[in-house]
């Protein structure tokens, strides 16, 4: 078991690097896009893992930041087409993707400032309410598609790369996902991560020992929002399309599902969870249209029998 534990990250990395080539040789090019989706959702789930796993904050409104990032990219592409190829053009990745993260971070600051004061069930409800607010606002924005959503004319531009090519896009996404996972793993053991875990353990004592808990929880909330914004920007590119459904609270629920499938708080958990979720979805829907029953049953099994998720089954016992 010990050797397996050390080997599998290496195997996973190699597999991820070689996937497009493998898929092409098997005639499964379609699955490169699927892999991109898994990675993008892994970024979303990692950002949520920061809140749920490190801070113990169960947010049912995380999809709002996902959607906000996506819409930032879409709206920028539509409003500021600009000179083709210029870095300041609305469809330039160098502008649009940081803009998406900044938008989501700002939204998270506003939502977090109010929500983080609350606790437990109230926190869950208030994040849900904020997400609904954002959802309804975008739903009623007729100018940007409203219910029908908004299409992107093309994927974001990075000079020198053609993101329209699925394989190129996959590698860009892979790089960003790897970056996110590394940042998260470092965060867990950093000063901030340690404080957050202490707050999750015993907030009263953390406060009494001298930590301004509100400040740190808010920082975590904003960071998580920014991460979700990046995922949103990438998903907007992946689909060349955004819609208010991206911010629906059921999308937040799906993100939570991925977090628990992979293992709450586990550094790689989100990647495992996203992969499991999407693969499960693919597998089950091949069998039956009623695949959500299968998903529901699997979820119940995980909650009752494997609450620490798949990564938790393999993790070192502290």
């Amino acid at each position: 078991m010990g050797m397996l534990r050390r080997i599998w990250p290496l195997v996973a990395v190699v597999a991820l690097l070689l996937w497009p080539q493998v898929a092409a040789s098997l005639g499964l090019e379609f699955y490169v896009a699927l892999a991109s989706r898994i990675l993008i959702l892994a970024i979303l789930a990692t950002s949520l893992n920061l809140l749920v796993g490190l801070c113990g904050l169960v947010s049912l409104g995380h999809a709002a930041f996902f959607g906000a990032g996506a819409y930032a990219v879409a709206i920028a592409a539509v409003e500021w087409p600009g000179a083709s190829g210029a870095w300041w053009a609305g469809d330039s990745a160098w502008l649009a993707w940081p803009l998406a993260m900044a938008t989501s971070a700002l939204l998270a600051l506003v939502v977090g400032a109010v929500s983080v004061r609350t606790r437990g069930a109230y926190f869950i409800m208030i994040t849900l309410a904020f997400a609904q607010m954002v959802y309804y606002v975008f739903l009623s924005l007729k100018k940007y598609g409203g219910d029908d959503g908004l299409s992107l004319p093309r994927r974001s531009r990075i000079p020198g790369l053609d993101l329209g090519n699925d394989t190129t896009f996959y590698y860009v996404v892979l790089l960003l996902t790897a970056l996110m996972l590394v940042l998260f793993a470092r965060l867990v053991h950093s000063r901030l991560g340690t404080v957050l875990r202490a707050i999750k353990d015993n907030e009263v004592r953390a406060e009494s020992v001298g930590f301004a808990c509100y400040r740190y929880k808010l920082a975590a909330f904003v960071m998580a929002g920014a991460g979700a914004g990046l995922a949103g920007a990438l998903m907007a590119n992946q689909n060349s399309f955004v819609s208010p459904n991206m911010m629906h609270w059921e999308q937040s629920g799906v993100a939570l599902v991925m977090v628990i499938l992979g293992g709450v708080g586990q550094p790689w958990g989100a990647l495992v969870g996203a992969a499991m979720f999407l693969l499960l979805e693919e597998l089950l829907s091949a069998f039956t249209q009623r695949w959500q029953i299968g998903l529901g049953l699997v979820l119940l099994l995980v909650v009752f029998f494997a609450p620490r998720g798949v990564a938790g089954l393999f993790a070192r016992r502290r």
Partner: protein
Amino acid sequence: MSGLYLLEQGLNGLQFGLMLFLLAAGLTLVFGIMDLINLAHGSLYMIGAYLVASFTQATGSFAVAVPLAIVATAAIGMLLEATVLRRLYRRDHLSQVLATFAVILIANELTRAVWGVQPLTLNVPAAVSGSVELLPGMHYSAFRLVIIGAGLVVAGALYLVVVHTRVGMLVRAGASNRDMAAAMGTDIRRLFTLVFGCGAALCALAGALLGPLLAVQVGMGESILILAFVVVVIGGIGSIRGALVGALLVGMVDTFGRAFIPAALRAFLPPALADAAGPSLASISIYILMVAVLFWKPQGLFPARG
């Protein structure tokens, strides 16, 4: 902006609020006593509506179908509690959210399997499909008056039970201090199942009454669930009184918001902006209300626990 229009909106708000109360009452008790976040509460409402629609078709009578559906839904609710929910009481909120989310997925899919994907038609029963002249020149839907009547009766009955009976006292004790109530020797498990069954029955009644007005379709549970949660949070977790006050507040704010905000905005803002902002502001008015209440009273208006 005639007085009659205001009255009509007021009655609509009252009607909506009372229905929200039916949903929120069960939810807040489950929340308060069992500390359980139950996302599947909306599914019971949906099942209730579907059962009423089916039984009405089968028996030809709405009045017969409703009690049947209520009993059936209560039974389903108690079964759900005994199998799945009971195991969640001592678990953390994340597990509860996910497990009840799973129940929603399963319930929605099963409903589609049994009844198909098309919305069901549930018509306002013929006997009350007309309108009543409340005031000279003002006609109001008879069915909506029935809803208001039913809602007031149930609210009154709940009040009597919770405040003036022994069972009610146990329920209130459980809401304010669960461990104490258990220590006092109440058979907590039976109490929980009973409370849950009653909550399910209330959901079914709300589903039956709102079914003819809104559409009976998969997903109806989730949209109203969120409103019910907003009511519970505003009113204070565990408090029936809070659920009633919260529900009426939410019902009124939502109804009046939708009726007046778009028009009000058009008076102040350029038409393009007003048309863009109006509907969205109207739909989010209750969430703004919730945030405002929580800012002032972080535990809601009447929290059951001190």
